[in-house]
């Protein structure tokens, strides 16, 4: 081992851009970090995550960065001959071609607004992202569909794992307590549909999860909150 090598951070430490994470060549720069000479520095604001010899940063803030295979909630913003343009709640819009819109065959020259009209929301999957951030999405596949009714709530994309919970524990508890249909898109859009007052309850709860996402025992806290609001005892996370 090189005697000069030194790790300067511990696991789960908040670092700012330019902060030195390690000296020497024993560690490797992972995602969110970079090497300058014999130092590894933070390339963004984030939380350190040490994976063997590799130093990584978990992002804590920022806009959604489109990734292949993510399931997102998109909005139709334009219709062309060949398909639909979908807003992804990121810096880049996506393209959905006719063949990816529906499991049934769409005739050439058909009226595309019959399938998706301007302003419609849909649950879609990202099939491809290029280096120039051209995005292809598809609405063909299990669980992918057009959204009818309900409401779409915007949250930080970095809080999405909190809203879903471990193995979906949080979102299934929300569904159980409210009786609403809920779909959480990786891009930070959440679709809720059910009784109007229950929809509002879900929205309030999601805001609470966002605000308190850092606290320990969050699922238990949210369970107590939901029990108090609905007056129904919940059978624990399913």
């Amino acid at each position: 081992m090189n005697k000069m090598s030194k790790l300067l951070v511990t696991e789960k430490e908040i670092v700012v851009p330019g902060e030195v994470l390690a000296e020497g060549m024993d560690n490797l720069p992972g995602v969110g970090t970079y090497r300058d000479g014999d130092k590894i520095l933070a390339g963004r604001l984030g939380l350190t995550y040490i994976d063997g010899r590799t130093l990584k940063l978990i992002p804590l803030s920022g806009r959604y960065n489109p990734k292949k295979n993510d399931i997102i909630i998109g909005k139709v913003i334009d219709i062309s001959f060949s398909g639909w343009r979908i807003d992804t709640n990121s810096a880049y819009s996506a393209m959905m071609s006719i063949s990816e819109a529906s499991s049934s065959y769409i005739q050439k020259g058909a009226d595309l607004t019959q399938y998706f009209n301007l302003g419609d929301y849909l649950v879609c999957g990202i099939t491809n992202v290029t280096s120039q951030k051209l995005i292809d999405v598809s609405a063909k596949g299990p669980g992918l569909h057009k959204i009818k009714g309900g409401r779409v709530i915007e949250v930080s994309p970095y809080k999405v794992p909190r809203i879903i919970g471990k193995q979906g524990s949080m979102v299934s508890m929300l569904k159980q307590a409210s009786g609403c249909k809920i779909i959480v898109g990786q891009n930070g859009l959440v679709w809720v549909e059910g009784e109007p007052d229950k929809e509002l309850l879900v929205e309030r709860t999601i805001r609470k999860i966002e605000d308190e996402s850092h606290l320990k025992g969050l699922t238990d806290k949210i369970q107590k909150f939901l029990e108090k609001e609905t007056g129904v005892k919940l059978g624990g996370p399913q």
Partner: protein, 239 residues
């Protein structure tokens, strides 16, 4: 007569009272304010986001737009006419150029990052306060960047070299004055902004730059602390 003691009693290497906070504008992707005494700069960052008109798009990298704006009631003298001026346009440009070297904009092709710097209160050193706030807001917005940017003005009043001139020193009449705003990337120590207004000798200038670099390191610590303060409560967040 020489300038023996600073008009407000500070040490020559001491800046005015500094205050910094991150996450002050809810709807922005990143935001911060930074205060140098009575100079108060807010910065809000939006983006990366779609860029229109389309001819401005650059397929090789994202672009950075900065907007520096003094609010009409911000000055201690006359009302500042709202809207852009020749001065604000120049400061917007030098601010963008001071921030560009730290940003990895090639990760955001065809998009734009907008930085709005608003000053509700000003009393000299406004561009440096703006740059400090903007650097914190950019980090808060989760952008990929190599470093922060820290900035302070240094200068010469009569025969003394000093840090962070206030208005009374900028307008000192019993001797020559030079005002030198500088910005550095604190980890590497490289300079990203250096301007000068007034009269200064070569020796005085190099001494002033050294003092400025030292002061910027102190500013960097304040920026770092403010950023960590906002995120400290999310420590248990990642599984």
């Amino acid at each position: 007569m020489s300038y023996k003691k600073r008009l407000d009693g500070r040490g020559f290497e001491e800046f005015r009272k500094v205050e910094a906070k991150v996450g002050v504008i809810k709807r922005a992707d990143g935001s911060a304010y930074f205060k140098f005494g009575n100079t108060w700069a807010y910065a809000a960052v939006y983006g990366p986001r779609n860029l229109y008109p389309r001819f401005l798009q650059d397929p090789s990298k994202g672009i950075l737009r900065c907007n520096y704006n003094m609010m009409p009631f911000s000055s201690s003298g006359e009302r500042v006419r709202p809207g852009g001026s020749r001065r604000s346009k120049e400061i917007s440009m030098v601010t963008a150029k001071a921030l560009l070297p730290v940003l990895n904009l090639e990760e955001y092709p065809n998009s734009v990052v907008d930085v709005f710097i608003e000053l509700p209160e000003t009393e000299a050193g406004s561009r440096t306060a703006g740059i400090n706030a903007a650097a914190m807001a950019l980090a808060d917005a989760g952008l990929l960047m190599k470093d922060l940017v820290s900035s302070v003005s240094v200068g010469r009043v009569d025969d003394k070299i000093l840090v962070d001139l206030d208005y009374s020193e900028e307008s000192y009449e019993d001797g020559p004055v030079a005002d030198i705003p500088i910005a550095i990337m604190p980890s590497s120590g490289k300079i990203t902004l250096l301007q000068m207004d007034g009269l200064v000798s070569k020796e005085q200038l190099s001494k002033a730059i050294e003092m400025g670099k030292n002061a910027c390191q102190k500013i960097y610590e304040i920026q770092k602390k403010a950023l960590k303060e906002k995120y400290n409560n999310v420590k248990g967040d990642a599984e």
